[in-house]
Each structure stands twice: as C-alpha cells, then as structure tokens.
Amino acid sequence: MALATLVKIYGSAPQPVGARMAVSSAGEMAGSVSGGCVEGAVVQEALAVLAGAPPHLVTYGIADELAQSVGLACGGVIDVFVEAI
C-alpha cells in the first residue's frame, strides 16, 4: 500500500494540510488530498512507488507543466508526499 499526504498548501485548497489518501497496488484509492482534481495523477505516483520508486514529493498546481490535465480549479498549489507503507 502507498500513502499520499498533503504536506503544503500555497494559496487555497479544498483539503487541510495532513489530508491523506491510500492507494493499493491494484490502484484502489481511499481518502483524498484535493477536491478530486489531482487524485488520478496521485494514483500513478503511488503505483510507481509501489513498483520500487523511492518516496518523493510531487507539486500540483497552475504552474505545473501538467496544469491542463491535473491543475487545481481553486488556483492553489499543493505539495503531496508519496511513500510506501
């Protein structure tokens, strides 16, 4: 199982710092780190960690190159830490 934790918010965001989301190796998810905007992308990061990638930070927001696909509607920027547990 992998755990994604919202560790930093710049601007406004729909979940408070500390919000968590768990992802199974089958891609099932529980919990949430945003209003549904980035969860799909977080699942991909979680699956990478479960496949052996080291734990790492991911930043999502309007400045991100993936803004079109996983930007935040609220205009905020969030840092999410993804690790295996």
Partner: protein
C-alpha cells in the same frame, strides 16, 4: 510495513494523540520518527540532533492539533520534514434524544465525530430512532457525563428542553474542558436558565461558555435545519471562527 509505521497505525486505532515525523527529501527521504506527548519516541530520521530538534517542535505542535511541514538546519544542510499530528476523533455528546438530535447525529457522523446520545426517558432513547449513533445511553446526564471523560475534543449539545434534564447537564458541562457547549432555547428561556445556573453556584464566566440561542443564524425552522445550524456553529468554533 516498518515498525514505526505499525506503531503509528496502532496509536491511530487506539485513538491516541501522537506525532509522526517523515523526511520529505534528501538521503534520508522516507525516514520516520514517532513521538508521543509524554516524550517517548520510536524510530530515527537518521541524525540524533535532528531527532531532538524535531521532538522539540512536535512538543509545540501537539497541543495545537495542527500538522506542519518544517525545514530544519542540520550539519548536512537543510532537511525538509513533515510532522503529522494525529488526534483522537472529536466527540459529540447530545443530551435529549429528540428529533433534532437524530439529524445532528447524522451530520456529526458525516464530519467524523464519535456521537453519544443521552436521555433518561427510555421512550425517547430507543435504538429504533438512534441506531446510527455510536452510543445511546438511557440515563440521567449528571450520572452519565462524569464517566464519559469529557475533554477538549468533546462538544456538548443540550436539547431536551426539560430543565430537570438540561440543568444538571449544563452544571457539569460548564465546569468541564469541553470545546463547545450549546443549549436549545429562546433568549427568554436562556435568560431564565442563566438565573437558575447562577443560583446553583456557577460563575458568570462558566455560564457565558454556553452558546444560546444555539446554532448559527441561518433562519432554521425544521429540526433538520436546526441540527445543521448547530453543526455549523460547532465547526466554526473548532476552526476558531
């Protein structure tokens, strides 16, 4: 699962207050240190001096109940650490198994509260009406409340509209560390209640803790709307608004 995370999971299951520190980047990324309010710890972030600095910061964060990402200066350079504060679930204690209480239990459960309903009238406190509550206790509040261990994470809502039930509950609640105390009743009803509580020996400061008329002013009429107004006031209090 490693030993530190397993201990963290157990603390969460037991509804204990703990802090879990995790290194977010650098050579020690993913290292974990679990800290209890009494100073006990398990694990390491890979640097004894960093462990000490993080323990000091966690001791400051624990009473605030807020998680935080902090950068610590170490001999090897700055280290980015996230400190998660995991707290017991908040509790909603409702006196009076009335219609408003049934809707309030639903809102409380949705918001993650452990819900307890107390009413000595067994015709009101029935499992058929309160099957969705975590606990339903048919008893008098002054007999039941002391055993519940009312703490800073507890909100108390008084709804019976019967002073034989409400007053003993308020006398106990106003001297407890409860985060929120609210009582149903109009301004006139509450003014009379304040006189009775002062007459019973409560201080002005203790009585002033009661939110009455209860709930945010959203023009609530139906019982479900009143429950929503009460829940909104509890959330506002919790968020220091």
């Amino acid at each position: 699962m490693d030993e530190v995370f397993a201990a963290f999971e157990q603390a969460v299951r037991e509804a204990r207050l703990v802090a879990l520190a995790t290194v977010l980047a650098g050579p020690q990324v993913g290292a974990r240190l679990l800290l209890w309010p009494d100073g006990a710890k398990l694990g390491t972030l890979g640097d004894p001096n960093l462990d000490i600095a993080v323990a000091v910061h966690a001791a400051y964060l624990l009473p605030t109940l807020h998680s935080e990402r902090v950068t610590f200066a170490t001999a090897q350079g700055p280290v980015d650490v996230f400190i998660t504060i995991e707290m017991p679930p908040p509790r909603l204690v409702i006196i009076g198994a009335v219609h408003i209480a049934a809707a309030l239990v639903t809102f409380g459960k949705t918001l993650g509260y452990n819900t307890v309903v107390i009413d000595p009238r067994s015709a009101f406190a029935t499992p058929a009406r309160f099957g969705h509550a975590d606990r339903l206790i048919a008893g008098w509040p002054d007999a039941v409340l002391p055993a519940l261990g009312i703490d800073e994470a507890t909100c108390i809502v008084i709804l019976s509209h019967d002073e034989k039930i409400d007053d003993p509950a308020l006398r106990y609640a106003c001297r407890s560390p409860a985060r929120y105390i609210g009582a149903l009743g109009s301004r006139r009803t509450h003014a009379a209640r304040v006189e009775r509580l002062l007459g019973a020996g409560l201080t002005d400061e203790e009585v002033a803790r009661i939110h009455a008329p209860i709930g945010l002013n959203i023009g609530a009429r139906r019982p479900e709307e009143i429950a929503l107004a009460i829940m909104a006031e509890i959330v506002a209090t919790r968020n220091l608004k």
